[in-house]
Symmetry: C3
Subunit: 350 residues, 3 copies
């Protein structure tokens, strides 16, 4: 959608993009880069957030029932290359076996990062998307969140059960401390996973600068497993999203899978014949997408077989199939301007 070649039109001196939102009194357009710290400067700290800073005892924790699944998650900046150079030193699109010629591809992303207990050591490089949070029905996710970014952000979950204070959403005057975690501060989210929450879900920033931090990479998957269901042999978590000029400052928009664009840079998934394979798919930008997988099909929502599924922002779903077809396959968005602008990847079956 919209315009993604800023340079070709900059002489016009106007934005050709749509109004995205207004943050801290500044209008934000879809194609014009913003400075998150400048936006944050215009936002008033809500009264309950101010009060809790002076008296942390005011923070009401959710009840913790069942087995704790505990995570330590930090939000951090990260130089992120959407299309890292390949072995030949060039940025390649393996789908077309051609160089990608879209100018600069590196920017300062925001990423959730998992640490060992009490933020001892990072478990992984910080990356887009953030770590997958896992629980089984009956367990409770306890997520210790530390904001190491220069702007207030949050963690807002989908699908799980949580009391109102654990919503992780900015609500203007009524904002709870978990909905406005300031730079350098911590907040512990308690999210319960009772019967009825099994499924593929997501979490993402929903703070006062939303959607800018999310557009810069602040999202990830949650999976709540049903103990009565056969576990998969392989499972893949696939986020279709955009890195757009408003959030990256780059010249072009990039249609991405898990933070990367174009086949060979996006994840290459592997499975074997006979594997039970779960694809957990979600949408995390302003666009609608479809998930298409070559050489395979599965039972769709209506009971009919499908090999292509429409979904939108905030949707998440799981496809399960038993692998029966060896070879080099594409998974991709079937929106042609997404598919051919980076939203595609390899799925290799042996």
């Amino acid at each position: 959608m919209g315009v993604n070649d800023l340079n070709r039109r900059s002489f016009l001196g106007v934005s050709a993009g749509a109004l995205l939102c207004t943050i801290g009194g500044q209008k934000v357009y879809t194609d014009q880069p913003v400075d998150p710290e400048s936006l944050a400067a215009g936002v008033t700290v809500p009264p309950k957030v101010r009060a809790a800073k002076q008296n942390p005892g005011l923070i009401k924790a959710g009840a913790i029932t069942g087995v704790r699944k505990e995570y330590w998650i930090s939000a951090e900046t990260r130089r992120w290359n959407i299309i890292p150079p390949g072995p030949n030193g060039k940025r390649m699109d393996q789908m077309l076996n051609q160089r990608v010629n879209k100018g600069r591809t590196t920017f300062e992303a925001y990423a959730y990062r998992a640490y060992t207990e009490n933020f001892g050591q990072p478990i992984q490089a910080n990356a887009v998307p953030g770590p997958t949070l896992e629980a089984t029905v009956g367990e409770t996710l306890v997520v210790h969140f530390r904001n190491n970014l220069p702007v207030p952000v949050t963690m807002h979950p989908h699908g799980v059960f949580y009391s109102n204070e654990m919503d992780g959403a900015y609500k203007g005057y009524w904002t709870d401390p978990g909905g406005f975690v300031q730079p350098g501060e911590e907040f512990t989210y308690v999210w319960e996973c009772p019967e009825g929450t099994q499924g593929s879900w997501i979490y993402h920033d929903h703070g006062p600068l939303d959607p800018i931090p999310l557009y810069k990479g602040l999202f990830g998957s949650i999976v709540v497993r049903d103990p009565n269901e056969q576990p998969p042999d392989k499972e893949f978590f696939i986020g279709f999203h955009s890195f757009s000029p408003v959030a990256t400052g780059l010249r072009f928009n990039f249609n991405c899978v898990n933070g990367r664009a174009f086949t060979g840079n996006t994840p290459t998934y592997r499975a074997n014949i006979g594997d039970v394979v779960d694809f957990h798919v979600y949408g995390m930008d302003d666009n609608f997408h479809t998930f298409h997988l070559h050489g395979h099909r599965w039972e769709g929502a209506s009971g009919a077989m499908v090999d292509n599924v429409t979904f939108g922002p905030g949707d998440s779903f799981r496809i399960r199939l038993t692998e029966d077809n060896p070879g080099r396959w594409f998974y991709h968005c079937h929106v042609f301007s997404h598919l051919h602008d980076g939203m595609s990847g390899w799925y290799l079956v042996e």
Copy 2:
């Protein structure tokens, strides 16, 4: 989509919007205001409509079986403020606790309005959307419609059963009288609700100026209840739509819920713990949306639990849940440029 800040680009002297349609020989662009009466002047009155005006006996009424549910509905103009000033005299977005700075917000809307028997007294202020039409399976909706607008419009229903003459759709040469109700005229629509029509539906203008009158507010909900199903304790009818410059003449596009934009202006819904709550949701503009509700989830189309549903123009569906989570929650479209430009509201549970 497209451009919603006319002022910033008017010096270009061109429309940056897409061709929406051609009405009465005039091309209509998505971002350029139109004059409905001028469009109507270019439309020829179809032969069956002319004939029926001279001889009302030519109008074939649908069969009326079952219990009549009778409505008297008028279409009227209405000065409509998309963002009424709050108690502080300012137009506010409670989601971000900030003023909305989008210029003028009032325009001449079109609205369906319910009256007592034989158009005796208005039952309510005219408003967007129109009154919800209710029936139970086995009943017949008899809708006496009077057009008090300066242009021809209609009522076209979804979901219910109706004979061809009761379609309420302009069909060029083949148009029936119910598909072209002229200013000052009346038409009685007979819509049956046999087994198989239970569900959440919509009605809207489908006359010769479609979609302009609908874009100005001519739409509403129909609900056909299944007598074998437990009635809800609370139910909410939620239309996601746009008030766009083509129909309002205002500078900006507004992403709306039920005629209003931004949290606190859009409907605030209330329920209690233990309530069976039905959300009837529909889309009524050119965009696709998702319906997301914080702190809750429900069984989706595939049988898996979901908390976010993709839908498009003309789609209508019902979500049922038993309320179990107190607090101040958001319902919103998860398309970020919709969510943050007004398509959001409060849901309060005690």
Copy 3:
């Protein structure tokens, strides 16, 4: 979405469209016409394709089990008129009973065309979309494909089972011969239809110039029938797609059904009371659509009754209903800018 009136903006000297893709090193914008042969000149023939040309024995055919259903399909150019003049010599929109005033409507389309055995005689005029390929569960589609176009194209199927070499998709360096059928060459696709592949599917070009050849008309339907299900009395195959300036060189975009635009030019379908009627619907452009049918409803994915379904590019699905409502009805996309710009047609029931 985007801009569809090139003329009004050409003085700007810039593309207002989005980057669609990069083919053969050339950037392709949604609103700027391209020359497919010039694009093709920039594409390198993949090594396995070169090798097979020198030694056709290298082509691995899929196993052929079950009964063969054999087709001979050629891809050809065809002068195609999106809106043929009516009996009055004018291009009409019967929905509004007005002339269509969108400039030229004829361009050089690409079309799949069916022939008798061994490419003896054409079975039909070549047309958009291509012939429907039919099989019953247990059979194998054997599709002899000859490329009579000036650029490399393919046939890629959805839904059926096929070994990796039969994918019909360009895969850069790893491309198999079936993924890059050069002008004048032939390739035989073997696509199996075992249990689990019953349904409504599509096929389309997925070669090195994708999506341009598809945008010019290279797509069609596949139906795999379940022998245990009642056959329909009537069935209709309905593709919602666009003929856009990038592929046609015409001034305007056209919202089409099966290659034609505006009611009366798009297919007029006919059925009788009591008929079991199947609508096979698919999306084949960059947009999302809904399928709406006046005067009817059917069981939707969730089990609730619906009369409007959202779908996207690459989605295909079947609606089955028993005809019970005589008259002149519309089927149409409920996206208003699609509906009123040509994506609509008649459905006549007697």
